[in-house]
């Protein structure tokens, strides 16, 4: 069964974690591991650096569990924290505080730029999480088809047909139906309302 990601369920898990329930804490880490770990990996950081970002982000959450007032904002809080940590790591490893194109910028401008970058990175991460959650609402065959078609390393129809034991001619109509199911699940989650 997929994890219950409603704000009410997250709030209950947060509440238990705040009271020191380690199983609730473990559940939180497990629920959001991909959200957090994907951010440094998408930014091209190595698996070692991504692991450091992962630890720092969850350490920050552990220390600030009491500060998450609105459970609905937890995915965003985690992704902004991870994004900032990535930017800090990139800056530190480059042993410079600014890139050539930012020469002459004031400290305020640099901070604002980093804030905007973290915000942008986290927005993508949160939207990807929402799509992942919506994928869990549709049937497995549709989920597999859409992932094979549209994931980063999108496959050819022939490969997909072999993998799913499906006639090539059925891929087009099935794809349309599966996309509609996913769109419908996303619409219920108000995914398109924030445009």
């Amino acid at each position: 069964m997929p994890p219950n990601d409603s704000p009410a369920a997250i709030e209950r898990t947060l509440e238990r974690a705040r009271s020191g329930d380690s199983r609730a804490w473990s559940a939180l880490v497990e629920q959001f591991e991909s959200l957090v770990y994907s951010i440094p990996r998408r930014m091209g950081l190595s698996s070692d650096d991504a692991s450091d970002v992962f630890q720092s982000t969850f350490l920050a959450l552990y220390r600030h569990l009491d500060r998450i007032d609105n459970p609905a904002t937890l995915p965003k809080w985690l992704s902004v924290t991870a994004s900032r940590e990535c930017l800090r790591l990139i800056r530190t490893s480059a042993k410079t505080t600014q890139l050539p194109e930012k020469e002459g910028w004031t400290l305020d401008e640099l901070i604002a730029d980093e804030d905007a970058s973290a915000e942008e990175i986290s927005l993508i991460a949160v939207r990807r999480l929402e799509v992942s959650q919506a994928l869990l609402q549709i049937n497995e065959r549709c989920r597999n088809l859409l992932m094979l078609l549209y994931s980063e390393e999108g496959k050819e129809y022939r490969e997909i047909a072999d993998e799913l034991s499906m006639p090539i001619g059925a891929i087009g109509p099935t794809r349309a139906r599966c996309l509609e199911k996913l769109r419908s699940a996303l619409q219920k989650a108000k995914f398109f309302d924030r445009d």
Binding site: Y37, R175, R177, R183, F192
Partner: protein
């Protein structure tokens, strides 16, 4: 967004367009139909986000983060009494209704298991107030008198945890640890 009957024939074509393929018929229709134009926009957004790679943290990395909070070991409640006549796990599986009573320190927990066509209804009663009951999937509401109720499709999934402050008490399912083998009281 409700799709009109006339639009339904273009579903596949609109999915083609959203996927970056050409489809002349769908293209003409989308230019004239506001609903399908919006649908195409939604599908494009969906496909764009689906293309964003997802990575999973290695298990040791996840475990390290989970270890940030020291674990508290649950206390296993002791089975004090059972109405099951026959010994063994099969007794609980074949019974229509039975009761178990657990104890942990001063706390006594009475559990009544009733078979239903689609699973089991379980009624519980705590001798003390102030305990939170965590069911197989989520917390269970506890009434002021300490009673609570939940349903499971499989008796093996009926274990619960009781939480109060730093204490966690585990109430096993009747099929765990030879509970069903308890003698009649």
């Amino acid at each position: 967004m409700n799709m009109k009957k006339a639009c339904e024939q273009y579903c596949e074509g609109i999915a083609d367009l959203a996927s970056g393929l050409s489809n002349a018929g769908a293209e003409i229709h989308v230019a004239e139909c506001a609903d399908c134009f919006a649908l195409l926009g939604h599908l494009r957004q969906t496909i764009e986000v689906l293309g964003v790679a997802e990575f999973h943290a290695p298990i040791d990395v996840v475990r390290r983060a989970q270890g940030l909070m020291p674990s508290r070991q649950p206390i296993l409640a002791r089975l004090a009494a059972s109405t099951l006549q026959a010994a063994g796990v099969r007794a609980a599986q074949s019974a229509e209704a039975f009761q178990l009573r657990f104890e942990s320190g001063d706390l006594s927990i009475r559990m009544m298991y009733d078979r239903e066509p689609d699973g089991w209804t379980i009624l519980g009663r705590l001798s003390e107030v102030g305990w939170e009951v965590l069911g197989p999937l989520e917390p269970i509401e506890v009434a002021k008198d300490g009673s609570f109720q939940f349903k499971v499709s499989d008796l093996a999934d009926s274990a619960i945890d009781l939480l109060r402050g730093e204490t966690i008490i585990h109430i096993p399912s009747p099929l765990e640890d030879g509970n069903a083998a308890a003698s009649d009281h």
